[in-house]
């Protein structure tokens, strides 16, 4: 059963904006409202078609008025951000993530029209440590609770959402825990990281990286809006890449950095505005994190179209990343060595 009025938060960024565009293209949905503190970029706004943009701050009680006057029945909360840099520092980011969600949920709780709630969460809630099982299922809780940053925000937000679901049992609540996104169009910390010509990695560690293609991410969000599938779901592609493997596939040069130097190096990258690394992202590069997407396939009824490797290769092709070493040189050296070997006989 498709909803009639949908409110999407965080439309100035890739997922929110493109989701609003997709929903606007669906004739069964009467109205699509996009909310954010800053307007979406011009090309994204054009894509959004008939979706309306409401410049509002979800931390402001005004959001309650927006929901009730438009009699919104489905809310997609996609504005969680992991980048302290782009949202004006860690304090502002936490404020936007946590306080914003509290206000939004409070507004939804008072609005009788709301029937469905979709939260874009993250697999970061599982943390990342050597004491964790190889694959996380939705029922597992992390060994070490994330101590700060984005992951802690997400854990708190999920907690608020569970509270909301208890107070409004008539609302169907879907929590989608997304793994790291990758793809030719999306701009994330990881897409910038792999685009560096020399990629810093933690010496002696090789994390397993699980990704999700941006299109799969949008398709899952769209399905969660259009169908009523309550529950918590891990959303991630099949298969993994090792970090070193991914760097080589992208034609980059890995630069191993000893663990004690990781902090200063990541600050350097942050300062140079190359890649906005937070400590928990560095932990991810240490131990990696892989989730089980079985529930997504069986219960949610969605099979990711791209595997992790395919999604990554699509990103490399789509961004037209130039390899640091020309691929022909390998072939040439291989031919040369074999020819020399033959001539030796």
């Amino acid at each position: 059963m498709p909803p009639s009025v949908v409110l999407v938060t965080g439309v100035s960024r890739f997922l929110g904006g493109h989701l609003a565009a997709r929903l606007a293209a669906n004739p069964d949905i009467d109205r699509v409202l996009g909310v954010d503190t800053v307007p979406p970029p011009r090309d994204l706004l054009r894509r959004m078609g008939r979706a309306e943009f409401v410049r509002a701050d979800i931390r402001n009680p005004l959001i309650s008025k927006v929901i009730s006057t438009a009699s919104v029945d489905t809310v997609v909360h996609a504005s969680l951000t992991a980048n302290p840099g782009s949202s004006g520092g860690r304090v502002a980011m936490k404020e936007m993530n946590v306080i914003g969600t509290m206000q939004l949920l409070a507004a939804c709780q008072k609005a009788p029209s709301v029937r469905r709630m979709v939260l874009k969460s993250t697999t970061a809630v599982y943390g990342s440590s050597p004491r964790d099982p190889a694959l996380f299922t939705e029922t597992m809780t992390p060994k070490d609770l994330p101590s700060g940053g984005y992951a802690k925000d997400a854990v708190e937000i999920e907690g608020y959402l569970r509270g909301f679901a208890r107070r409004r049992p008539d609302v169907s609540v879907t929590t989608l825990r997304f793994s790291n996104f990758i793809g030719p169009r999306i701009d994330t910390v990881l897409t910038r990281y792999f685009a560096l010509p020399a990629v810093p990695i933690v010496l002696g560690y090789d994390a397993r990286v699980q990704l999700l293609h941006e299109e799969d991410g949008l398709a899952v969000l769209e399905r969660a809006v259009c169908e009523e599938i309550p529950g918590v779901f891990n959303v991630a592609a099949d298969g993994v890449l090792l970090l070193s493997q991914a760097i080589r596939r992208a034609g980059r040069v890995p630069i191993p950095v000893p663990s004690p130097a990781v902090g200063p190096v990541s600050r350097l990258f942050r300062g140079a505005r190359l890649v906005d690394f937070s400590p928990e992202q560095m932990r991810l590069l240490n131990f990696g994190r892989v989730v089980d997407n079985g529930r997504l396939r069986r219960q949610f009824g969605f099979t990711p179209r791209w595997t992790t490797v395919q999604a990554f290769d699509d990103y490399v092709r789509g961004r037209a990343l130039r390899p640091v070493v020309d691929p022909e040189r390998f072939a040439a050296v291989e031919r040369g060595v074999l020819a020399a070997a033959r001539s030796l006989r």
Binding site: P130, R131, D132, P133, A134, L135, T137, M140, V202, L203, G204, Y205, D206, R208, G239, V240, L241, L242, S244, Q245, A246, I247, R248, R249, A250, G251, R252, V253, S259, F287, G288, V290, V316, L321, P323, V324, V325, P327, R329, F330, A331, A332, V333, E334, R335, V337, L338, A341, R342, R345
Partner: protein, 337 residues
């Protein structure tokens, strides 16, 4: 006793030199076509990555082409890794070949009862742990790959300490190990993998030399309930010889605490002779795989019954202990066998 199945060097085929050249060419060309449009990186493959350069042609040329193809795959990232981080390409081409000399020439491992290990499907190998450094698990992995007709990869369950360590942790995952926890064990066993577990843990591997071949406590029997839930057979495995590689005659507790290690061993050679003390003594090893204990005849619900789990754990433990005593009574010398 199972004879050793493979010679160290690739088998030389009677073939003229021209044919050899053709073969090495034919090996390389499809790879290139395959990889068109993909980027390699790093340094070009140099001749230093060629281990078999001193062999006789055309075998060495084939080996050269194979090594180059391997290097190229590694540099281009063109290999598959499973969800646990197991890298079969690296294991088969680097890790196992590196352990093979130790297995064949140093410890001269002999395997017994290899037919008890199924060729396909899930199974749980439960073994005794010893030797101060866990070389016994690595040797069991080589045994099950080299001396088993199914050339199986042993997926080992290890302590979290191992995965915390740099280099070691990453290599352990690539070699197929994962954390010893119920979800991982069950996932591996139900997907038909051969899983290896050393339930004694650090108590076993770090026990003093005077306690050699005395099995320590077998944890809480988590491995048994995992096997019960997945219905895979438990194969008791007894390893003789590993106790003598680094006879642990002392333990420096403050140093262990300093490094966050479970023990800091003192052996006759370590730390007295420094790095030289890291060379294991060349004891003669026997690895015996016992009769599988079936768990599919037991109701999986019994996995939650402490009595069933305890009895089964005890049965496995007794089997391994008795096999150890029998093997020891047949052994005349620790180093000559």
């Amino acid at each position: 006793m199972t004879p050793r199945r493979r010679a160290l060097r690739p088998v030389e085929r009677p073939r003229s030199e021209e044919e050899g050249a053709e073969v090495s060419e034919a090996r390389v060309i499809p790879l290139r076509a395959d990889d068109a449009g993909r980027w390699p990186s790093d340094d070009p493959p140099e001749a230093d990555g060629v281990p078999a350069a001193d062999a006789v042609p055309p075998a060495w040329e084939e080996a050269l082409a194979e090594s180059l193809a391997f290097l190229r795959r590694r540099l281009e990232g063109d290999y598959a890794v499973d969800e646990f981080g197991f890298d079969g390409d690296l294991t088969d081409n680097v890790i196992l070949p590196a352990l093979r000399p130790l297995y064949r020439n140093w410890f001269r491992v002999e395997t017994i009862g290899m037919d008890h290990v199924p060729e396909v499907g899930g199974a749980l190998v439960v073994a005794n742990h010893s030797g101060t450094l866990p070389l016994d698990s690595l040797m069991t992995a080589v045994a099950l790959h080299d001396d088993h007709p199914g050339r199986r990869h042993l997926r080992m369950l290890g302590a979290d300490l191992m995965f915390r360590l740099p280099v070691v942790g990453a290599l352990a995952r690539k070699q197929g190990s994962t954390l010893a926890c119920t979800p991982d064990a069950q996932r591996l066993m139900s997907s038909g993998e051969l899983v290896g577990v050393w339930p004694e843990g650090f108590k076993g591997v770090g026990k003093p030399f005077r306690d050699r071949y005395k099995l320590q406590r077998f944890g809480r029997g988590g491995f048994v309930s995992a096997a019960l839930r997945t219905g895979v057979p438990i194969i008791p495995c007894s390893i003789v010889g590993a106790e003598e590689i680094y006879p642990k005659i002392g333990d420096i507790k403050p140093l262990a605490r300093l490094f966050g290690a479970p023990y800091f061993p003192v052996t006759p050679l370590f730390p007295l002779f420094g790095p030289l003390g890291l060379v294991p003594l060349p004891s003669k090893w026997y690895i015996e795989f016992g009769e599988p204990i079936r768990t599919d005849t037991i109701d999986p619900a019994e996995a939650d019954d402490p009595m069933t789990v305890f009895n089964l754990t005890d049965q496995v433990r007794e089997t391994i202990q008795h096999t150890l005593y029998r093997l020891l009574s047949q052994r005349r010398s620790a180093f000559l066998g």
